[in-house]
Subunit: 194 residues, 2 copies
DNA sequence: GTCTATAATCAGATAGAC
DNA sequence: GTCTATCTGATTATAGAC
């Protein structure tokens, strides 16, 4: 149970990862997963108790993958504010939505097993942003009246909200403009005594 | 057809408004709507071609109501930056999500009739924020390097992203912290030459 | 305009053979 | 471990009486 090395199990999880990003949790049926993975009904229910657990396994893998990408952007060799700019301006498929936080408005978030990987991903970014801002602050690079923790929360909110803007306007540029605003603001509150 | 004065039609739309906020579009079935409204199957399909059109009518009303609230916050009698602060810090039920933009990640956004009211609401706020920032800028109250349009996009993104943070962390405070960051930053980029 | 009855399809899951 | 067959209830809608 939940042991790797099983071909169909891996195919099922891979298909679920793709469908969760594309359609979300509620709109993804076990039937869809089986069709995409090439597995039969029995394989899914042999490896997992049900749909929720398949999704939890898929989300855990997605969070792990995305956190690794984030950690690559926040390399210690880069100056702290450059790490933040790299995260803000990284390339994104805005219309697809955030791979994990796209589930934020689904009933799935009321289930701890599904919410946890999403919260871990978002929380990890927020912690990385905050640590970088505290580093910049310690070097005297942050304007007075700006709390690193609050600014970090604001920045992750701009990114997640940017996805929302792109989706509702059906326009990638809507997200880019919000990110532009964040970069301008970051520059303004860090230049003063840099 | 879509004529007001019909009791059941109004009950159906009212029930749909409640359910769309609570559960979203895909998770709201005509059956749920009928149960909540007290109407029978026939009433729904007499007044509307189907589920999509009921939702479109409900969303249009929701957008109209919320835009009226926004316009109340952006009263011309208030100084421009105070209008923005009033919008940012208004009370919200963060865990319920944005009444309109909570649908942003549903397939419904690919249907123009459903996306338009949501886009109109978000776009209206963004236009109000931008006009207020341009007013502040004209009075010399905006730091150099800050474009009113980009800052407006950033601010609406913080609010919409704040809802996402609250939902994924299942914690209202997560949104408040992001809003706090936005207020601090707004203060920092407007004080310099105010 | 409103109702109840019915239908076709799909959702999520189980049974049991191989 | 993997498969096909089957099951129960929900979804979205249609039919037709009142």
């Amino acid at each position: 149970m939940a042991r790797p090395g099983s071909s169909k199990r891996e195919a099922i999880v891979a298909a679920t990862k793709a469908l969760l990003w594309e359609r979300g949790y509620e709109a993804t049926s076990p039937r869809d997963v089986l069709a995409l993975s090439g597995a039969g009904q029995g394989s899914l229910y042999h490896h997992f108790p049900g749909k929720r657990e398949v999704a939890a396994a898929a989300l855990a893998e997605m969070a792990e993958e995305e956190i690794a990408v984030i950690d690559g952007l926040f390399s210690p060799g880069t100056p702290p504010l450059d790490r933040i700019r790299a995260y803000l301006t990284r390339e994104r498929q805005a219309l697809r939505g955030c791979r994990l936080a796209r589930l934020s408005n689904e009933s799935a978030m009321e289930e701890p097993a599904l919410r946890e990987p999403v919260a871990a991903y978002v929380g990890h970014i927020q912690a990385r942003l905050r640590a970088s801002l505290e580093e910049a602050d310690a070097a005297g690079g942050l304007a007075p009246g700006i709390a690193p923790a609050a600014l970090a929360a604001m920045l992750i909110a701009v990114v997640e909200g940017g996805y929302v803007l792109a989706r509702v306007h059906w326009n990638e540029a809507a997200m880019r403009e919000a990110i532009d605003g964040a970069v301008q603001v970051l520059d303004a509150v860090t230049r003063p005594r840099a």
